[in-house]
Symmetry: C3
Subunit: 486 residues, 3 copies
């Protein structure tokens, strides 16, 4: 993006964030406290007045508190956000601290801001005007954070912690607006967030990455890769995302069959994706060897693409079909599309969010639209159809076909807000005031982290034990040391 | 097994699976889609007709949907299957990708095939002939997969991904047959699967390993061991298996006291196992040092052995006794039995499944038989006895003593099907068409995986910071590089 | 503590625990079996008589079994104890086995002893005199273990496995006494254990560490640090503690709103802590670089400090305020206080439990006292106030103000028992009979563990593939080997 309207400082910026990062953290956290003090209270099910609430709502048992319907799913989602996303990004040999650490920072700030933004749009108490929060709100806050973490994946290793905070502040804001349009105005359903989370987050990140294009990034290329152990750390992230995705897609679905069905559909879709990912990965590699990049990422595409339709009557075979094609499309994306869009469109996508989130999210939106349009009373039952698509109140007369149209429109909204917002935020992040690293210093923890240092070689501790004694010299740190001596 | 009826190609096979692996994945996954389309539908609790189902079954609240009874346990089991088994096998220095990656592939394919096989045996709807699936089916599918993963542990590092798929296809099939005989025909109880999962899976894997005996495997011995970090990765697997085992043994127990009791018994048994494992490990080592192999594996034996009896009135002290002896037996197995059966019986058991699954599973079967035979109305209560052993319908008059006999018989069935099936599948896997590695190429990820490669040394990025600058040269990749220069 | 009354053997002790460790494990585990046999039975909800129990208690559905209210939280707590604490302590380059392994041993023994000790104090059946256990008991047992693991953090790398067992035996005993005084005698509330678990455990460990002062510990200093990978392993522990802390603080709260509110408050407090931790870490480092020690530890302080008040009407903004200040205090503690107390008070605190548990626990106690004292019927509702503070029976007339006083007193009890008990146990551990390592052999796994050894360099396996062939030589083990040749 050479002809960008904002002058981009190619000269080395000062990467010392000693004052900017603390300033941002303190000011924004203080603002959160004030805003929570003014706006946020417990909802009827988490407030000590629960006893009266129970009586009012004719709830007969404590077990019917929404906490017991959703809390286990919440914890699974929470693990996906902090361990799943965090460790998935630790694949790079020198950026593990930045991957898991800044992921942690994004999540912790983002969920607070999300509770406020989503609260204003969805959880305002008409009586006293407070935002009333319960377990469903904190699940949605985690979802909101996921959108920003996806975007972070596109710029991983190329931005400063301060830029990461800015990306999150605007990301959460844009997410909430887009979500309000899709869920409230268009009355589209998106329990697993294919559109709201993945399509938005993916395109938001790609647009930012496009604006922040680094012409000389190849000078950091020798750091932009994995080592054996870092690939295993990344698999921790992959597996926790893959295993808990059924909880992700069912966390905010309807009580009863809604959550039950969403979990089963996601479970099946993800299973099919694994097989086609292995197949394509082997088929397109020299000597038929498997590539960890595909196993770590494309195996998850089925969970993304089934997000919207998971709570619908997609049918078990329908879920398998979605997973089948997503594994193929996502893996081929890593092999062919990512290099192409970097070369042609100057989009440097560190984690390949284009193939894992953007495109599968887009597909998921349309799968949802088709599944909704095809819904019938025979398949759902009269009441089931109303419950599943929430055809009540002013939507009492909406037909499945019309619903399908709105679902498709919602997908476009997610993509447009993502791209538009990403370009806007990207321009802000281009300003040479955020302490970004130079092109030849990317993917490097040492820029923002104290990295463990050298030390003296350690003499054997146990004379009686030669075997172990020699071990000592073999210690990684020693070998480093010896290496430098040699 | 030199006198094997099938000629074994000792010459190096072509390990390039570029066409066989994708072919198997695509064809089998397509078959799954077709079979699911023809046979599989949602059950009453995951179908959108839930509202009518609720009314028909007189269910008063959504919280009584089976999803809320079992889903948290399902997620714990899911973690055990993919992270637990997967990382437990990453202990080898050069086989982490194969351990966690092929474990992932087995699980993803196996659970689909298991839903069909188990469905035909147990979940056919008498009215419309469809397999109706819900949360209990996906738990059982994960259980079924566990049997194959146990078998994989015995041949870890010695088989190709294609062989792994074949092992899974037949393993799931055999499992379902054996399970049908044990659960449906013998009417034995096995909520934690000591017999159905562990005894079967263990002997299935040992039999395969026996048929696939590699006379020159010692040529790969320098790769068949751990490094410091790989032992820590393996501990991730160990701990997630250990922590979630109470969920594993209680996942499909009766609602209410059944699940509650099964979890408590397993929790206690596992705790006792840890202490005796540490004791034996230290007692039998030179200098009393602890061996990570024992801590990673034998600490889990108590969970295996209490599997069948966990839902019975085993009593807290009974659980501790089971765990106490299993820790001893399993650890001694690693020290004495594994080397012995490799030398005498030519069974090369990479992960020692003999000591962690086969023998403890066998013991668990008999513990279950004894506990069942000793059951009385005083201890269980009249209704409790009927509910626990499901003495209803045609089994209304079965006595605890008779039940104990059937439990013991069931254990034998599991072992026999495991051994017989393993020999059969082993012979198939001996055919020189599966791309297996030669004896001197075992335990090596490079055969089937792209392993991270070399690169140029990276110059210090931050001149102002000598401390960190020197770090850079100390980076693992650099040290490798420098080493080759020196 | 040069003027200690017990002579401290500065000469190298024999670190061979080949007989002491097995002896302790066998004898104590056997004692557990006997004591469980004599005292422990299932409670009404885990016993097969559940059907009759249900009728007696007018429980209408199996879903109202306490298992379904608490089991998901129990599993989260279980993960925190074994993976959370275990991996958090793997940060040291040479002590990963001891960290995760001895953590495992402490947990497995401690939970059995805790079930007995806490059972005698809290779960004795007045009719038959048995300890009746259910899911709440095993949660409390895990909590009890947490207190000992916190103490272990203070002496990590400096004690033998036998000392660890002794520390646990007395730690559990002291914990149960202190808990009985606080919960039963003072009738203080402490659902998250700020006082009972963290303040007690922290000061217990610090006092032991003080008595076990090692004047020449600096001779092990080169081992007392992290390497890049070990810091990532530690982050696994940090994140699982951070994510599941809401379950920890809500696990034994009241059904319904109590658990719901406790989870939300903890979720918020922890989020605020992360931001202030990042801020202080960057602000006080040269070049504004972040320090992994702070990110791994101080980010958790908010969960500790909100433990007592989490189930009260702390209000969302109140939780954020608690987290805000705890992040600051804890991080500054790591930067300034820990070095100071080591220098001035001769307290060598390996993991900095002073900053993560002791001080935040103390603060949490007082936050709870203030929140309780400020409780009003308007905020809690008449019934809500009674339920939250359990103002029933002999406490019917206790006012919130008085309750606040008792809460404050309870905090002092926790600290005093912790310090007093720690000094007592420390003196026992000073005896030169436990096989402790010498000052220059601390933080070293080789003392008590078989550590993976050397081997021959492995020739390339695949001639056709130069790329991978060279990989082989680059393998860590080879580089070690080559290094020694050079």
């Amino acid at each position: 993006m050479g002809n960008c309207i904002v002058p981009y400082c190619d000269g080395p910026q000062n990467t010392n964030v000693r004052f900017t990062l603390p300033a941002v953290c303190f000011v924004w956290q203080s603002a959160m406290i004030i805003l929570f003090g003014v706006f946020v209270r417990y909802d009827g099910e988490s407030d000590a007045h629960w006893v009266e609430h129970k009586a009012k709502e004719n709830i007969t048992s404590d077990i019917e508190n929404d906490y017991y319907f959703r809390y286990p799913s919440f914890q699974d989602v929470h693990v996906m956000i902090f361990v799943g996303f965090g460790f998935l990004m630790t694949f790079m040999k020198r950026y593990g601290f930045g991957a898991v650490g800044f992921n942690f920072l994004i999540g912790a700030f983002g969920l607070q801001w999300a509770l406020l933004m989503q609260g204003w749009f969805h959880s305002l108490d008409p009586v006293d005007g407070f935002i009333k929060i319960g377990v469903e709100n904190i699940i949605n806050a985690d979802f909101c954070v996921a959108g920003c973490l996806i975007a972070y994946g596109a710029v991983l290793g190329k931005v400063s912690p301060v830029q990461v905070m800015v990306l999150t502040l605007f990301g959460i804001t844009l997410f909430s607006v887009e979500e309000f349009i899709i869920i409230s105005l268009l009355h589209a359903r998106d329990s697993g967030g294919s559109m709201v989370i993945h399509a938005f987050g993916g395109y938001y990140g790609l647009a930012i990455s496009w604006v922040l294009y680094r012409p000389n990034l190849k000078e950091s290329s020798q750091r932009n890769g994995s080592v054996y152990h870092s690939d295993l750390f990344a698999m921790i992230g992959t597996l926790f995302l893959w295993m808990f995705w059924p909880s992700f897609n069912s966390a905010i679905s309807d009580h009863g069959d809604g959550q039950h069905r969403a979990a089963i559909n996601t479970y099946l879709s993800l299973a099919a994706t694994v097989l086609t990912t292995f197949a394509i990965s082997s088929l397109f590699q020299k000597h038929g060897k498997l590539d960890m990049v595909h196993i770590q990422n494309s195996t998850l595409a089925g969970g993304v693409a089934v997000g919207t339709a998971a709570e619908f009557m997609l049918m078990p075979y329908g879920s398998l079909i979605v997973g089948f094609f997503c594994g193929i499309i996502s893996t081929l994306g890593y092999i062919y599309v990512s290099p192409y869009i970097e070369k042609k469109f100057k989009i440097q996508d560190t984690c390949g969010v284009h193939n894992l989130h953007a495109v599968p999210g887009l597909l998921g939106g349309f799968v949802g639209a088709i599944t909704a349009a095809a819904a019938t009373e025979t398949v759902y039952g009269a009441e089931g159809l109303i419950n599943t698509f929430d055809f009540v109140g002013s939507y009492k007369n909406r037909t499945p076909a019309v619903q399908g149209g709105y679902q498709a429109a919602a997908t476009c909204v997610a993509v447009c807000v993502g791209i538009g917002g990403g370009i806007f935020v990207g321009l802000i992040l281009r300003m040479p005031i955020w302490g970004a690293a130079a092109d030849d210093q990317c993917f490097e923890d040492e820029i923002y982290w104290e990295v463990p240092g050298e030390e003296e070689p350690v003499p054997p501790v146990l004379e009686y034990n030669n075997h172990t004694a020699t071990n000592k010299n073999a210690d990684v740190m020693e070998s480093r040391f010896t290496v430098e001596q040699s």
